[in-house]
């Protein structure tokens, strides 16, 4: 446990970008306006699967006000190369075809052409005059159907890869993963109790309120400047340069303020298109997606089919696990099946386990990351089975989790063992919580709990701090700030230097000014970019010791730096600011810098408690009370840690109860609007109580663990367990929407 007393860390300063964001001054991408700027509009496929026979753009080009029209033919041919994007990798030909379809459209909403005009209405009218001839093909949107031998093939040349071994026949399954630990078959033989169920989850979307938007200005000298809503300016730069086949250094990406991402704003969708329209028209071009585009053409998270089995001894020890998982990849390979497989048993120390996973292409938009990608689905399955084991063994659902929880040294199904982690501490916090100790009473009510895990990654971050003549600091870093990270990073610099958070002026740089920094994702920013800021502060202190040695006429080794950031030598002690001012006056100016690439996962564990009431006549679930518990390692800004916990939880509640891509008979989405997609409103959730556990991460100077993703993992499982306890009905399908729950309750009553 961390016991160090900090001055800044753990306090709750007002965020540095706060005033801009409450007065409407903060500039998001769609707010950007350049002289001569045109508006772009993307024409999209109305079909789920079709061959593009021909495209005639002549009528659109002839319209007054239209400056450029492009189609897939304007995109350069990119080789079938896999580019490493820092966090994950991507096949460039797929990435390019996803930005603009070539011979085939693979989902409704797939871009086929784009127009730039003086006004977005003109661009839209022109786009509607583009004649596209389609040959409609048979389509498939359910993962098990897509795996069938006679399923319509999305990619003629796609074969299954089983860790380097290629299948002979093409299919819609690009990847088969297989993990084994111990001897699962034998362990099931010896188990006293086995539970097994099949689970299904619908495709859901991140649902950020800001639609994707971009401004591109392709200069005559070949320099491409992009302002965009991205989670990672450097990966955006790389993807754009690779798709357009232009030198990386020619591209400047300026990340604007970003209106939510949750994993959905890492892949490029509009950037290459806007760049090509700008190149063709010679004018800057802005494109913004409509809300329907966002649902139909950006990257949701996989729907899934899962069959999971657990075996236990009569004392509650879970001894065997088996999982068979098939996840949507969407139109192109590369879904979230890897982490799905690695998370299915990640909370429990199961000696014998076997996991098979399949990444499956089908006629839905290419999936992308969404907060702990792939983990929420499997938690929905495993956490219900753990409850079922407990119930059949007559154990308490908390007790069985405590008994089997992973701890330091537990081996994961994919092989590695855990370093020090905090699941047991989270379960203990749950046990001590007011919520757990307050009985729930009343008809049709139930309580459920669930645990959750997400890796959290390190990756690369950079920071530079320039000392001003008054001893305050301008901090330049490269992590786009989606939820207050400027401040949590600045606080770590303030702590190490003995300054106040307000003494630091943090700025998110662009790709020309900031040092290389990977995406804002993977729960990594406060952890890794915070670490970079800390190291930049340390760098500054080293430089100042050397320079102060001249000033004080001593050796640098004689000068020590205290916990409070003060410099001491020969009985003299001065604070950071004082020394900085003195040095500046003496003609010295200072820039501290650091690059870091921490490699150990930060291993974020959490546990949650949900109380629900189910309307027996309609199947509608009301969430009465909710508590989210998580190991943050060390909370830098507790308010924003709570905010991550609350936000992730409510997204998980939405995923659990109502959100889904509802597909019609023609495999197009019926509900591509906020009205019918049904994310939770303020009236649909209670206050979300939070308990922050701090076990300290040994791999971070202040003990930080990433917190952004784990909170979305337990809610569907916790709510399913609560619904079971309220209704005796086990829900194995997401969302647990009123019609489905009502139907399941009816079936349950009939069978009784």
């Amino acid at each position: 446990m961390t016991t160090t007393q900090y001055r800044v860390i753990g306090s709750r300063p007002v965020r540095h970008d706060g005033a801009d964001k409450v007065t409407g001054k903060a500039i998001y991408t769609a707010d950007t306006k350049l002289p001569g700027m045109l508006a772009g509009f993307v024409l999209r496929s109305p079909h789920a699967h079709a061959r593009v026979v021909s495209i005639d753009t002549s009528q659109a080009e002839a319209m007054p006000g239209v400056h450029a029209v492009i189609t897939g033919a304007d995109f350069p041919n990119v080789e079938d190369k896999v580019a490493d994007l820092g966090e994950g990798s991507v096949n460039l030909s797929y990435l390019s075809s996803n930005c603009m379809a070539q011979q085939k459209v693979l989902y409704r909403g797939h871009a086929v052409a784009a127009v730039a005009a003086t006004d977005v209405h003109i661009a839209e009218e022109a786009a509607k005059k583009i004649q596209v001839e389609y040959e409609v093909l048979e389509s498939v949107t359910w993962v098990l159907d897509a795996m069938k031998e006679d399923a319509p093939l999305l990619h003629d040349d796609l074969v299954t890869d089983s860790m380097g071994a290629k299948a002979e026949q093409p299919s819609n399954v690009p990847v088969h993963l297989h993990f084994e630990k111990g001897d699962a078959a034998a362990a099931f033989e010896e188990a006293d109790l086995i539970v097994e169920r099949e689970f299904r989850t619908a495709t859901v979307h991140q649902g950020y309120i800001e639609p994707h938007a971009v401004v591109a200005d392709y200069n005559e000298d070949g320099r491409l400047r992009i302002w965009t809503a991205t989670q990672g300016s450097f990966t955006c730069r790389q993807q754009t340069a690779e798709v357009l086949q232009i030198p990386l250094g020619n591209v400047l990406v300026t990340p604007c303020e970003i209106g939510g991402g949750f994993g959905g704003k890492i892949t490029v969708y509009l950037e290459p298109t806007a760049a090509l329209l700008s190149k063709k028209s010679g004018r800057p071009v802005r494109i913004a997606m409509t809300r329907a585009d966002v649902f139909e053409a950006s990257g949701p998270t996989p729907g899934s089919f899962m069959r999971v089995k657990l075996g236990a001894k009569s004392d509650g020890t879970i001894t065997a696990g088996e999982a068979w998982l098939a996840y949507d990849a969407g139109a192109y390979p590369g879904g979230m099946i890897g982490p799905g497989c690695m998370c299915v048993f990640s909370c429990y120390d199961i000696e014998h386990a076997v996991v098979d996973g399949y990444d499956v292409c089908l006629n839905k938009p290419k999936t992308s990351a969404y907060r702990a990608p792939g983990a929420t689905q499997v938690a929905f399955a495993t956490e219900q089975l753990v409850d079922e084991l407990a119930q059949k063994l007559g154990m308490c659902e908390l007790e069985i989790r405590e008994k089997n929880a992973v701890k330091e040294g537990s081996r994961r199904v994919d092989g590695p063992v855990y370093p020090p982690i905090g699941l047991l501490e989270c379960l203990d916090a749950l046990k001590q919580s007011d919520h757990w100790n307050t009985p729930l009473s009343g008809p049709n009510r139930g309580r459920g709990i669930a645990a959750g895990f997400w890796f959290g990654c390190g990756l690369k971050s950079s920071a530079a701090c320039t000392v001003n003549s008054d001893g305050t600091i301008n901090l330049l870093e490269g992590s786009t700030d989606i939820g207050g990270s400027r401040t949590s990073i600045a606080m770590q610099l303030a702590e190490v230097l003995g300054l106040e958070a307000e003494d630091i002026n943090p700025q998110v740089g662009d790709t020309d000014t900031a040092g290389y920094t990977d995406v804002t994702g993977g729960s990594r920013v406060t952890f890794a970019t915070g670490m970079a800021a800390y190291e930049a502060g340390r760098d500054l202190q080293q430089q100042m010791r050397t320079l102060a040695a001249d000033l004080w006429d001593c050796s640098a080794d004689d000068i020590s730096v205290g916990e409070d950031g003060s410099f001491s030598a020969g009985g003299k002690t001065v604070g950071f600011k004082e020394l900085a001012v003195e040095l500046f006056a003496a003609g010295e100016h200072l820039v501290g810098r650091a690059t870091v690439s921490p490699e150990c996962p930060t291993n974020g564990f959490g546990a949650q408690i949900a109380d629900v009431e189910v309307d027996p006549e309609t199947g509608k679930v009301t969430v009465l009370r909710y508590t989210t518990i998580q190991d943050a390692g060390k909370a830098i800004h507790p308010s924003y840690v709570e905010g991550q916990l609350q936000g992730g939880t409510v997204q998980g509640i939405g995923w659990a109860l109502n959100e889904e891509y509802f597909y019609q008979d023609d495999d197009t989405m019926a509900n591509a609007s906020f009205l019918d997609y049904r994310m939770p409103t303020m009236l649909d959730v209670p206050m979300i109580d939070t308990i922050i556990v701090e076990t300290g991460n040994p791999d971070h100077p202040y003990g930080v663990r990433g917190v952004g993703e784990t909170p979305i993992v337990p809610p569907p499982a916790a709510l399913a367990n609560a619904i079971y306890n309220a209704t005796d009905t086990r829900m194995t399908e997401l969302p647990m929407s009123p019609p489905k729950l009502w139907k399941a309750m009816q079936a349950n009553q009939t069978s009784e």
């Binding site: 309609t618 509608k620 509900n671 009205l675 019918d676 409103t681 929407s737 009123p738 009502w742 139907k743």
Partner: protein, 283 residues
């Protein structure tokens, strides 16, 4: 265009026919025009016309509600919200607060969505639509106003001027309830409006039940309504009326619910709205 009188509107309509569309609160028509669901050359803003934007109540004739009166006027009005409980219920849940500041009951009626929240209330309250055209005015019972999804009885040269709702005595009560998966900002999976008049002896003298989102147009549940006359306002009787109402429901299965679920909900909501309406009549 923003004319100042009903007659001006009628002549504009006569000129442009179905290429002209009426703009009151705009919360449906602006979206429909933007998304290409409806087309227009001329949009006529009718909010400058006093007859259409005002409302008045008298004990003799009841409520005359201008077609463009925004929702909030009804649920924020202490007397009207009490007299016309069903309408207050409806108008308070059409969209969010921002929508209610603009959207009108008249617009909701003209838009003729099968799932419109105010129409079952109007039918339950036995309202009439007052229509102006080149030949003058005519009235049509609201239960006959809608002819299909998005379609109504208005000719191309006619407009809805007002909705006339009968006066309500102290022995009357009404309620509207819809089922939605969330708690706000949703389209009704099923909506039910119920109205009850009690006799001095506490039995039901008269009742009107209307169903939304279970057919191509909102329905008046005649048999279910008549079944309650002379009966005690009990849960059993209300449930029985719900069973009768289910017989006329012919819902579709779509993203909002299956036909089976919708039909089931009719029974639940008829019972619940009648219970509330009776309670309101008793108080």
């Amino acid at each position: 265009m923003a004319p100042n009188s009903v007659s001006e509107v009628v002549s504009l309509l006569s000129e442009h026919g179905d290429r002209a569309k009426m703009l009151a609160g705009g919360t449906d028509i602006i979206v429909q025009l933007r998304e290409g669901l409806r087309e227009a050359d001329v949009v006529i803003d009718i909010k400058k016309i006093e007859d259409i934007t005002s409302f008045h109540y008298c004990e003799e004739n009841g409520l005359s509600l201008g077609a463009a009166v925004a929702c909030y006027h009804l649920y924020e009005h202490p007397q009207l919200s009490q007299l016309y409980g069903a309408l207050a219920d409806s108008t308070h849940i059409i969209g969010g607060w921002q929508i209610q500041s603009r959207a009108s009951v008249g617009g909701n009626l003209c838009n003729a969505s099968p799932a419109a929240d105010s129409i079952p209330s109007l039918i339950a309250l036995n309202a009439e639509a007052v229509i102006a055209g080149p030949e003058g005015q005519r009235t049509v019972a609201v239960q006959d106003f809608c002819t299909g999804p998005g379609r109504n009885v208005l000719e191309n040269n006619e407009l809805l001027v007002a909705i006339q709702i009968p006066a309500q005595g102290g022995e009357c009560g009404s309620a509207y309830e819809r089922f939605i998966p969330r708690n706000e900002m949703d389209i009704a999976v099923v909506g039910v409006g119920s109205w009850i008049r009690l006799s001095d002896d506490g039995t039901i003298a008269e009742s009107r039940i209307s169903l939304g989102a279970v057919a191509a147009t909102p329905l008046f549940a005649e048999e279910a309504s008549a079944s309650l006359v002379g009966k005690e306002p009990t849960e059993e009787n209300f449930a029985a009326a719900g069973e009768l109402a289910k017989k006329i429901a012919t819902p579709i299965s779509d993203m909002r619910g299956t036909d089976e679920y919708r039909t089931h909900l009719v029974g639940v909501l008829v019972k619940r709205t009648l219970t509330t309406a009776a309670l309101r009549a008793q108080n």
